[in-house]
Symmetry: C2
Subunit: 184 residues, 2 copies
């Protein structure tokens, strides 16, 4: 793909996410094109159907999450890296649900070929625990339970950025360290 | 209602919850009767339809939650009372979802007439904060967001008692106190 085509593609996917998050599945290709600053024809050449566009957004976001995990795996602050990744997954879960539902109802398995981010989460957790930034007694089972809880609520109640920040601040403090039993 | 009829009713509702939690909506009246130690006829006299039984369970549990909130409002340990109530709501959310879904699909509004437990939660929170058992900077918005998150995940992934205990232990530590900003 030529550099300008690649740039256009990235802009279209970004614009599509914004419009989808706002309008849900009523999102119009025309508005996505306007926001991306390209013609509708440019979108249709790369994404002949809405489903092709949705699938590309999902793949693109999953790739970006996987890339982010790789970068964060080498970050100087292991604790900040872990919490940053947790926050990004929750932030992404709302738009992801809209897309995955749309793809599923169109008979497309959105999860096919998705990189498994559990491995990345596990690696970030271990590193944060070794650095003393996450309590040592938290295992993957309860971590994934809490991550899934935050994602489900963010999807279900359409959490604002502010509410996500406040809810996760509490959760993250719980992940940082255990309160002595006498602390209740 | 006579005392033995009231006892029978309570036993039937309790048995129905156990069977429903295990078998979902395939739960049979015969098994519920067997577990409650009453005849099937006894159940049908009080609950002519499955929907009437389901509705009674929902009402009964909501009343018990409201009663529990009242009791806990005067408990000596305000922190323990607050966390106990949070835990009970999450524990109850799984069977509640099965029932509410069944009632909704039968065209019954399970939420009609439900006592509002938000007021009770708010009172327990304030008391726990005054006692220093819950951090003062947590508001109802993020508290309800986290409570809903735990309920949704417990429903969605069918949390075991053990997983619920482990996930909530982390969440509760976060609610107890804020980590200093340097603590990451």
């Amino acid at each position: 793909m030529r550099a300008d085509a690649r740039r256009n593609r990235a802009r279209v996917l970004e614009a599509a996410e914004v419009v989808l998050a706002r309008d849900g599945l009523d999102a119009s290709m025309r508005e996505i094109a306007a926001l991306a600053g390209v013609g509708v024809g440019t979108i249709y050449r790369q994404f002949p159907t809405k489903e092709a566009l949705y699938a590309a957004i999902v793949t693109d976001r999953q790739e970006r999450l996987a890339e982010m995990a790789e970068e964060l795996a080498g970050a100087a602050d292991a604790g900040a890296a872990f919490f940053e990744f947790f926050d990004r997954i929750v932030a992404y879960s709302t738009v992801k649900k809209i897309l995955v539902d749309a793809l599923t109802s169109a008979g497309i398995d959105a999860k096919a070929g998705a990189p498994d981010i559990k491995g990345a989460i596990s690696a970030l957790l271990e590193r944060a625990q070794r650095a003393g930034a996450v309590r040592p007694d938290v295992g993957m089972a309860e971590l994934l339970a809490l991550l899934s809880a935050a994602c489900l609520a963010a999807q279900h109640h359409d959490w604002s950025d502010d509410l996500r920040a406040r809810a996760l601040a509490v959760l993250f403090d719980g992940l940082r360290r255990a309160t002595p039993a006498t602390g209740a």
